[in-house]
Amino acid sequence: MKILELVGLSKEFGELVAVNDIDLVIEEGEIRGLIGPNGSGKTTLFNLISGFIRPTKGKVIWQGHDITGKSPHTITKKGLARTFQLTTLLKERTALQNVVMACHLHTEMGLFEQFLRRGGAPEKEKKVERKAMAILEAMGIAHVQGEIAGELPHGYQRALGIAIALASDPKLLLLDEPVTGMNPVETRDMMERIKKLRDSGVTILLVEHDMKAVMGTCEKITAMNFGKKIGEGLPEEISKNKDVIEAYLGA
C-alpha cells in the first residue's frame, strides 16, 4: 500500500530550483534511503513533505489524501514525523521532559485539563511519563532521562531527536542524517534500532551520507542530484549507477 506519494514536487527559491519535479512512491513497511551530495535538495524535500515549506508545484499525498501545504503540526498529527539535520532539542530541559512535551498529541487532555494539570489530571500525566520512558528505552537512552538535553553527548542527542519524533506515534518517520557524527559502533547500534522500528510498524525514509549504513539498512534507495532524481533501485543497482557514482565522486 502506498503510504507516501510525491507527484511532480518542485520548489524554487527565486532563480534556484532546489527540488525539481520529483516523483516518489514509498510503500508501507519500507526502509527507503535517500542519498545525494550536499545541496542536492534532500533536506528541502523533507521540509516540503513535512509542511515546513510550501512547494512551488506538485503534490504530497499521504495515505491517499492530499496534504500539500498543510501546517507541520497537522501533518505530524496525521502520522508523519521527522527529525532535523541539526540537532533540534529543547536544550534546557531534561531528555525525559523533551519526550513528555513531544507526547503532546497523546496526552488525552483537553485544553481545560491542560490548564489544571497538577491536581487536575495526575493520572494522565503519569501515563504520558511512562510512555515517554518506554520510548527512551527503545532508543537506548533511558539511563540519561534526567540529564539536561543540551549537555548530552552527540550520539545521545541524535537518539533523543528520534525519540521526540517517535512520541507522536508516526506511521512514517523521516530521518534526516540520523548517524552523522557517530563512530562505527554507535552507527551500527542506531541502524539496528532503526530496523527494529520498521519491524514494529513504522515506515522509514532516511537521508544519510554514510554509504555503509545506507547500503546495509535500506531495501531501496533513491538518489538525487541538483534537485532531480537520478536513480532509484536496490542498493546493488544504485552502487553501480553511473550517474550516482559521478555525483558522489569520492563518497
Binding site: A81, T88, L90, E92, M101, L116, R117, G120, S168
Partner: protein, 325 residues
C-alpha cells in the same frame, strides 16, 4: 529554597492576604489612591508577563487596556447606561476580540518585529480614540459613573474601590499563576525555546501563541475598565507609551523569568517613584539610575537578589558561628 516545612508557604500567603485586607485601616487619602492604582497595575503586569513567556514583548498591552476601558465608558456613560457589572467582563471580551484580530498580522512576527507590530497596532488604536469624536476625541469622556451599588455597597469612596480591585487582582493572579504552572504554560515556554521543533511535535504553535495573547488582553481590558470607573474619567493620553514602558520596566527589573518577579518589580518601581515624588525634577534621574543599577548588578531581575545574597549570608553565618565559639 532551604528549610521549608509544608505549612510555610500557605501560612505566608495567609499573612499576606490578611495584610492586604487590613491595609485600608492604615492607608488613607493619597496613598490609598497609589495603592489602588498599584493593585490594578498588578493585573497588567502578570498578564504582560505571560506573553513574555512565549517570547513576545507586547507593546499593545496598554492599548488593550484602553479597548476595555473605552468599551465600558461608551456603554455605561456616553451612549447607554448599562451597569458596570455587565460592562466589566464585556470590556475584557471586546479587548480579547480586538487582540484576536490583530493577532493575525502580529503573531507572524517575532522578537523585535513583534514588538514593532504590536506598537503600531496600539498606537493606531490610540490615535483613533483621539481623532474621532465618537470616542470623545481629545478630551475623552468625563465624568464616568462609579461602579453601580451592589449588595448595598456603594463605590463612591476609595475604600470599596480598593476591595473591588483587590478581589479581581487576586483572582487574576491566581489564574495566571495556575496557567504558568500548567501544561499550557509549559507548552508556551517550549514554543519560545524552539518553535519549529514544537510544530514538528504536533503542537499548534500559532494556536497557543494566540491563546496567550488573547487571554492576556482580556485581563488588560478588565484592568482598563476598573481604572476608568475608579478615576471617573477616560482620556486617550492615559493609555500612553509611557504607561507601557512602566509595565515593561517593572517586568524586566523584577525578573521576567519567574512569575512573582514582575510583581516585585512593580511594587519596587512604584515605591521608588513615590518616595522621591517630592523631588520632582530629580525623579526621572533617580528612576533611570535605579534601572541601570539593577540591570548592571542583577541582570536577571530583583527576584535573584536572595540567590545573589546567599553566599554573603553564608559568610555572615560562618562569622557568627566563629564568634559564638
Amino acid at each position: 529554597m532551604k528549610n521549608r516545612g509544608n505549612l510555610t508557604k500557605p501560612l505566608a500567603l495567609a499573612v499576606l492576604l490578611l495584610f492586604l485586607i487590613l491595609l485600608p485601616l492604615f492607608v488613607r487619602g493619597y496613598w490609598l489612591d497609589v495603592l489602588i492604582l498599584l493593585t490594578i497595575n498588578v493585573i497588567l503586569v502578570v498578564s504582560f508577563r505571560l506573553v513574555t513567556t512565549m517570547g513576545g514583548w507586547n507593546f499593545a498591552h496598554i492599548a488593550m487596556m484602553g479597548v476595555g476601558a473605552y468599551t465600558s465608558a461608551l456603554l455605561t456613560t456616553k451612549y447607554l447606561d448599562w451597569p458596570f457589572w455587565l460592562t466589566l467582563p464585556l470590556g475584557g471580551l471586546v479587548a480579547a476580540f480586538v487582540a484576536l484580530a490583530i493577532s493575525y498580522p502580529c503573531l507572524r512576527t517575532k522578537g523585535f518585529y513583534f514588538f514593532l507590530s504590536t506598537f503600531a497596532a496600539g498606537e493606531a488604536m490610540r490615535q483613533v480614540w483621539i481623532r474621532f469624536q465618537f470616542f470623545g476625541g481629545k478630551y475623552g469622556i468625563c465624568p464616568i459613573i462609579h461602579p453601580n451599588p451592589i449588595l448595598g455597597i456603594e463605590f463612591v469612596r476609595a475604600v470599596p474601590n480598593y476591595y473591588l480591585a483587590l478581589v479581581i487582582t487576586l483572582l487574576s493572579v491566581f489564574i495566571f499563576y495556575r496557567l504558568d504552572k500548567s501544561r499550557i504554560g509549559d507548552t508556551v515556554k517550549a514554543i519560545n525555546s524552539d518553535e519549529e521543533l514544537c510544530e514538528a511535535m504536533g503542537i499548534n504553535t500559532w494556536g497557543y501563541k494566540a491563546l496567550v495573547f488573547v487571554v492576556a488582553s482580556f485581563f488588560a481590558g478588565i484592568a482598563g475598565v476598573l481604572l476608568v470607573h475608579y478615576n471617573g474619567l477616560i482620556n486617550a493620553e492615559a493609555f500612553s507609551v509611557a504607561y507601557c514602558y512602566k509595565i515593561i520596566t517593572a517586568t524586566i527589573i523584577g525578573g521576567a523569568a519567574t512569575f512573582v518577579g514582575p510583581i516585585i518589580g512593580l511594587v519596587v518601581m512604584t515605591g521608588v517613584t513615590e518616595i522621591f515624588r517630592d523631588l520632582l525634577e530629580w525623579v526621572p534621574l533617580i528612576y533611570g539610575v535605579f534601572i541601570i543599577g539593577v540591570l548592571l548588578f542583577l541582570p536577571d531581575g530583583l527576584v535573584t537578589l536572595p540567590r545573589r545574597m546567599s553566599p554573603l549570608i553564608k559568610k555572615i553565618q560562618m562569622i557568627g558561628k566563629g564568634i559564638a565559639r
